[in-house]
Symmetry: C2
Subunit: 344 residues, 2 copies
Amino acid sequence: MKIIVDGMGGDNAPQAVVQGAVEAAKLIEHEIVLVGDEQKLQEELAANGYQVNDPKQGKISVVHASEVILNEDSPVKAVRTKKDSSMVRGIRMVKEGEGDLFISAGNTGALMAGSLFNLGRIPGIDRPAIACIYPIMTQEPALLVDAGANAECKPNNLLEFGIMGSIYMERVLGRKNPRVGLVNNGTEEGKGTTLTKAAHEMLEKSSQINFVGNVEAREVPHGVCDIIVCDGFVGNAILKLTEGFALAVLKLLKQKFTEGTRAKAGALLLKNKMYELKGEFDYSEYGGAPFLGVRGSVIKMHGSSNANAVKNTILKGIPYAENRVVETIESAVLEIEEIVNSED
Amino acid sequence: MKIIVDGMGGDNAPQAVVQGAVEAAKLIEHEIVLVGDEQKLQEELAANGYQVNDPKQGKISVVHASEVILNEDSPVKAVRTKKDSSMVRGIRMVKEGEGDLFISAGNTGALMAGSLFNLGRIPGIDRPAIACIYPIMTQEPALLVDAGANAECKPNNLLEFGIMGSIYMERVLGRKNPRVGLVNNGTEEGKGTTLTKAAHEMLEKSSQINFVGNVEAREVPHGVCDIIVCDGFVGNAILKLTEGFALAVLKLLKQKFTEGTRAKAGALLLKNKMYELKGEFDYSEYGGAPFLGVRGSVIKMHGSSNANAVKNTILKGIPYAENRVVETIESAVLEIEEIVNSED
């Protein structure tokens, strides 16, 4: 298998990307292909002590691309005009069968637009979604679908998110029969908006998922379900609010625990525990966010990914291509059509 | 001024309600009227040592109501059939001019339905909203509008929420020129859904508010704005997720800080700081949630309000009636009509 990595995408590229790739390559049999400015990438490989033909270091190669899509670029325009960007080149390699998986920390909108232009949607999937790991303290993480690709959704989109998320969690995260929950403003059936009421009916009809019904946002951080289904506007709010609140709590703890000698002494004794606490909020351990519904395996990393996040995204992304998630979704769409048609 | 309090609403009624009223009465000149089962309320007053005609204890009277609206009651049906409930009686007293403010910890849906049936909307306000205090750690709290009354909104509703929230914060919470932010999935103008884009345009046109533009959910816990404007579905998610996450963090801290002798010793030294931390999340200090846009002053308390929450809701609710918030909103609607008409 060949894993294509955008060498130039993200705030810390190419350094962190190359370092993460070098670390990952040591642990896997598959080949990693870095796409981007060849000279810079080779320099970074050398700086990380990578040597071709050293079996202990695994297989890394470089494919040159002369352009870079920036975060401030307009997504659609960028993928149309920067044809020789590391991102477009990488996506095209998956399209042409020269790679099995593409990973990028670059411009999210451009990565989605480029994936849709070049790889297209899985037939029968109306709206591909970004599936994002949602950390649950002291438990296995959940998967949030959609994390922001589709701010406005129809009920069948939420059905698609539930089914695709379920397949991803089984095949990639290895959790059997994951619980699918629909974010709503009350748990009772019949609660909600026009959208969530109709989506609830459709999700209930699916025989492919373990639908546990409506879930309230209050229960989400306690692990009430494995797949958190919502439209991309709400998903974005849930994800960002959690990040923002976690940061605010850590800041407040730091402030409180350094006020006065007594507090400082206490904090010193709790140092390890505080590290563990910070670890609960650490996204870099969890891997990236797949674009479910795209006809090809594409994974988005956080824009500020460090080397550890890059390494983990590569390692945890392998089953996405290896366990044929795209093909499995392809074979699951028939039921979606049946359910949607039965509603008309 | 007369403050009408639903003696029977909420999980801890009538005990906590009466105790909170007794504590509040000592601190204010205004009369508190408890509505509900007269015998039970008098018993609770006695149990709390309340004596009529003791000037130090303030003025409390009881008005009998034979029925109680329960949490599990269907809101609309309950307010239609339970005419002699403490809730409907209380709302009617405001309607008839026998009270200036009604406070209840009972069924939220019934309180909104009963308020709309009996008091009606302020002319020109399309959708009344629940405005909820949103705690910001180490800073003054923000106000979230709408916290859940209107799961589906039109752009003009969000404009109304911004204007009404702004008036409430100035007149009741005493914050001058409060910053109004629109929750969106990006801060740039032009970002968002059909709803948020149109609402952004309208909010920008208002000369009555200090509109600071789009705000991302990530920035909300850091105090990016004073009035958090969003539809009731998103508002419910923000509020509930924050509550749920705060609880999960406190639970995790407790767990981590009791693992092993070293951690326990550290936690002992940090005991006061931990209390302070818990206090940051304590809703009972902040007072209740006004129903903005209703033609009368109605405040909802949290269903699980304790005596302290009841006391604070009474004390902090007084300016809602005293500073003529309803009348100020009435005089602000002309601009809303102009802005909405200019969009057509």
